[in-house]
Symmetry: C2
Subunit: 313 residues, 2 copies
């Protein structure tokens, strides 16, 4: 079993710690701030309880025993075979971290980043060991959403790609292999396409923010909980996806062709959207709603398990 090193004990780092430890991996967690250890432990325990709801076989005590919190990053370099960066999303911080790790880790150690937007080639452009560097991008909250994007650069070796896939496969994650580097990878491009259209429909006055949301949460999203866009249309025409594409392709193509305005991400529009959202959910309820979201996600994961719709790679 690989020994997993995690840099950064925030939300993402805590989440990775919970999922890896629950699947029997040894986890070493490092954070430059020494005062976060207690908070980290409490968070990991909560996450492990959520994971146990989905998979009753998980032993919380054993999982916690698998995690070691250290205050010296060199402990990771000397003891781990796979290091997952969960540092802040700031390019200079990540470049410095990867440079440090590349200098201190033996050659066989894989250096992976949770970055949601930066290509690994940008983070590692000046490194000797860029061949061992890769993106493994999770979805928030990672312990409840079993999906990771593996995005290598042209320099990343096949061995590193395969080993990374293997590690995330062992924790039951769906692996999205991004064959060529692209801004936003696959997940945030799909999310971005939906968001950009939602922002346009809102700012052009076609529907309220809540009605646009409701189209997803009471409409499209019910199918998307179980199947992606291609499978959805495969089942929405009698003859399958080719039949559907012939029937409706022109409609979708024309939507794109005639959709020339850019989405309005300005502060003015953000203030309007903020106002609409705060009428539905006040600021002091945000955290509570995020907890409810996690409750809903764990229930949906359990449901999908009961329906034999778990991740298959």
């Amino acid at each position: 079993m690989e020994k997993i090193g995690i840099v950064g004990a925030g939300l993402i780092g805590s989440s990775w710690s919970a999922i890896f430890s629950s699947k029997g991996f040894d986890v070493v967690i490092y954070d430059s701030n020494k005062n976060v250890e207690n908070e980290f432990k409490k968070r990991v325990e909560t996450f492990l309880e959520e994971l146990k709801f989905i998979d009753n076989k998980i032993n919380i005590e054993d999982s916690l025993q698998n995690i070691k919190f250290v205050h010296d990053i060199n402990y990771l370099s000397n003891n781990c075979t796979f290091i997952q960066d969960c540092s802040p999303e700031i390019i200079e911080i990540k470049q410095e971290l990867f440079s440090k790790l590349d200098n201190s880790c033996p050659e066989n150690v894989i250096l992976s980043s949770s970055s949601s937007g930066m290509p690994i080639s940008l983070i590692t452009q000046n490194l000797k060991g860029k061949n061992r560097c890769i993106i493994s991008h999770p979805v928030n909250p990672p312990h409840l959403i079993p999906c990771v994007e593996i995005s290598p650069s042209l320099n990343t070796s096949d061995e590193v790609v395969n080993k990374t896939k293997d590690i995330f496969g062992k924790i039951g994650f769906s692996i999205i292999y991004v064959k060529k580097e692209i801004d936003g990878f696959i997940l945030n491009r799909l999310q971005g396409a939906l968001l950009n259209e939602a922002v346009k429909l809102y700012s052009e006055g076609y529907a309220s923010a809540d009605h646009i949301d409701s189209t997803v949460r009471n409409g499209l999203g019910l199918r998307w909980a179980f199947m992606g866009p291609f499978e959805t249309i495969d089942l929405n025409a009698p003859g399958g996806i080719k039949d559907y594409m012939q029937r409706y392709g022109n409609m979708y193509l024309n939507m794109e062709k005639n959709n020339k305005i850019l989405p309005d991400w300005s502060e003015t529009n953000a203030i309007k959207l903020e106002k609409e959202r705060r009428e539905i959910l006040s600021t002091d309820q945000l955290l509570k709603r995020a907890q409810k979201r996690n409750n809903m996600l764990k229930s949906l994961r359990k449901l999908k398990k009961d329906l034999n719709e778990e991740v298959i790679n």
Copy 2:
């Protein structure tokens, strides 16, 4: 209680019949093909059983008693107060049907269409009674996805809009009010945005069709089952949606700015996608998978009910 007339006893007509009858409405169904009655009844029974799974209070026998199948469309004109068109998605057929109904129905009868793409102004442009015509567009399968788009034209009266909202509110549907006519309404524009991006990522070679699907079914779709794109980002930055828009707005804006290629809906690409899908699901399994989809949807609806996440208008 309004008496609902439904034109067309296919999938959509059967689905509307099940949901309206289960909520105590009298339903009169008409189809120009007299041989479909048995098939229709069997389908409605199946749909009612699925609805009963979600809401145990539904009485299948009583619901079936609420439905009357007729072979003369004039019966609808003379007896119903709200008529829902579920005829084929062909403009000439819909124009002829609406013209016929407009001539034969008393003035107070609302004429509504399930059309997924045609604006009501196009269907009713030459009609005297265009003020009583409206789109009420469902999501497939309508009895399991509680969402309807209400899209009036500039000619539709406010009274008709309000009465239509009221009727769909009574069957517990989420009402998406489309304030101005637009191709694809809200739902298919959102679906189209995701599909167009998925088609691009596939044909430009960034990921396999199944990996793109998996990004949704094991990733984004889990959240979208419970919350729309705006609520999702409202919970994904510490300070809410405005905070999120300030952090990531430029990333999404640049994705759109730099995304100049058109999605490839050609036959060549359709054949490639068909091949990938058929390796995962053979043609003879399509129907079975659609049934499984319905099973999953009803389980998810039940779960959302148990979690107090049902439709609120």
